[in-house]
Amino acid sequence: MFANKLLVAAALFVGTLGLASVSHADALSDITARGTLRVAVPQDFPPFGSVGTDMAPMGYDIDMANLIAEKLGVKTELVPVTSANRIPYLQTNKVDLVISSLGKNAEREAVIDFTAAYAPFFNGVFAPADVAVAKVEDLSGKIVGVTRGAVEDLELTKIAPADLTIKRYEDNNGTISAFLSGQVELVATGNVVAAAILAKNPPKRPELKFLIKNSPCYIGLNKNEPALLEKVNAVITAAKTDGTLNGIAQKWLGTDLPADL
């Protein structure tokens, strides 16, 4: 009895799916017809997306959204999202693209598609240029500051040489202060935190010595949208080639794009 009901429900569900796919056959032509590109962007994650002093959203992801809309010849409609609801917004067709510092993993790849990477996101060990460290073994005998409990704390603790001293601070501000005041020579942190330090033009400039964990950001879009996927990928590739994307990276992260992006 129950199995029968389930079967009917499933048949109805599949039927609805069929109807839904008829109503929007192709996201790219929908966008062109509408004249706006709806993009899910973060509003609480600087420098990728935050609210400026004029209350307008700003950041790496917002510049990226505007760039793609411009290349598609349409207007941008920014939809602020949180990290928890950015994929549901896409799945329920409230937005066309998610440009929200989204990392790629197997669970997400099962439900949505990803374009090429558009922004670097990694954590690593940073220090001024004159500190001779190029790999984890070079940390022997050194002192590294880190934010307690952060991913880089857990990862560095696993791979650290036995005679490395790890100073664990309460939050990112403590880690930044310890680095800037010279209490620690090196810090293990994210490129976003390093960018926040660089933005203040400090006397000690944190430069990447080596990567701990690399998880670049991708643009998310719904599955089975090959035309939109191809178009956005073409925009990203062109922006990498002509230096536009490097300009955005310089503006928001204070460094050039990594060569492998």
Partner: protein, 223 residues
């Protein structure tokens, strides 16, 4: 309440806790001995010292007693390197505690000194004691005896206040609790254990100070 307690992490992390207790004890030992010494010197200066010294000591005491300990600690650890004085986290923590207890104990001890009857000073002078000898033998010891319970409380307060040194990555008992919490996500248990240890440390410290008091002041005041 259906919270499921889980203390398995104790086996793995007890070295951190032991180390943390060691650091906390070391901080309060150095802080208490040097802090009370500084307090006695400042109390003498404010109560009996030369006129030019009084405003200097008064400024120090009021500056410390009217600013938060955490800010004093950050000033020493993060601020002084800009002036070229680079201190490790334990040195910074020790100095902050000595400076802090010095100011508070100054006022407690000064109260004891100023409650000494004028006749006591005159008695010392009439026995041909120098002002310093009078201060040391006649004034200071009975003064300390009178304010010893208040001073003991202040030492315990400073020991408990030392928990904030984990903010500058000094690996005291609070650091151990925070560290375990961030690795095991067992916040309730980690802070339960550290709370119990702080409570035991505070009770033991009070007992120790009472014993020390009974050695320094073997005679009860005749009243």
């Amino acid at each position: 309440m259906s919270y499921h307690f889980e203390f398995n992490w104790l086996a793995q992390y007890y070295p951190e806790i032991v180390k943390g207790i060691g650091i906390t004890l070391q901080l309060i030992l150095i802080g208490a001995v040097l802090g009370i010494a500084l307090g006695i010197a400042c109390a003498w200066a404010r109560a009996l010292g030369p006129a030019w010294l009084k405003p200097i000591v008064a400024t120090y005491v009021e500056l410390i007693r009217n600013t938060p300990f955490l800010i004093q600690l950050f000033f020493i650890f993060f601020g002084l390197p800009s002036l070229g004085l680079q201190l490790g986290e334990l040195q910074a923590a020790n100095i902050a505690m000595v400076v802090n207890l010095g100011a508070y104990s100054c006022e407690i001890i000064r109260a004891g000194i100023q409650s000494t009857a004028k006749g006591q000073f005159e008695a010392g002078a009439s026995l041909a004691m120098t002002p310093f000898e009078t201060f040391r033998h006649v004034v200071l010891v009975p003064s300390l005896q009178r304010i010893w319970p208040a001073l003991s409380s202040q030492v315990v307060i400073v020991m408990l206040g030392s928990s904030v040194v984990s903010q500058i990555a000094a690996e005291d008992l609070t650091f151990a609790a925070n560290f375990i919490q961030s690795r095991t996500f067992r916040a309730f248990e980690a802070y339960m254990v550290s709370t119990a240890i702080y409570l035991i440390l505070a009770i033991l410290l009070r007992q120790a100070l009472a014993v020390i008091g009974s050695f320094i002041f073997p005679r009860r005041a005749a009243r």
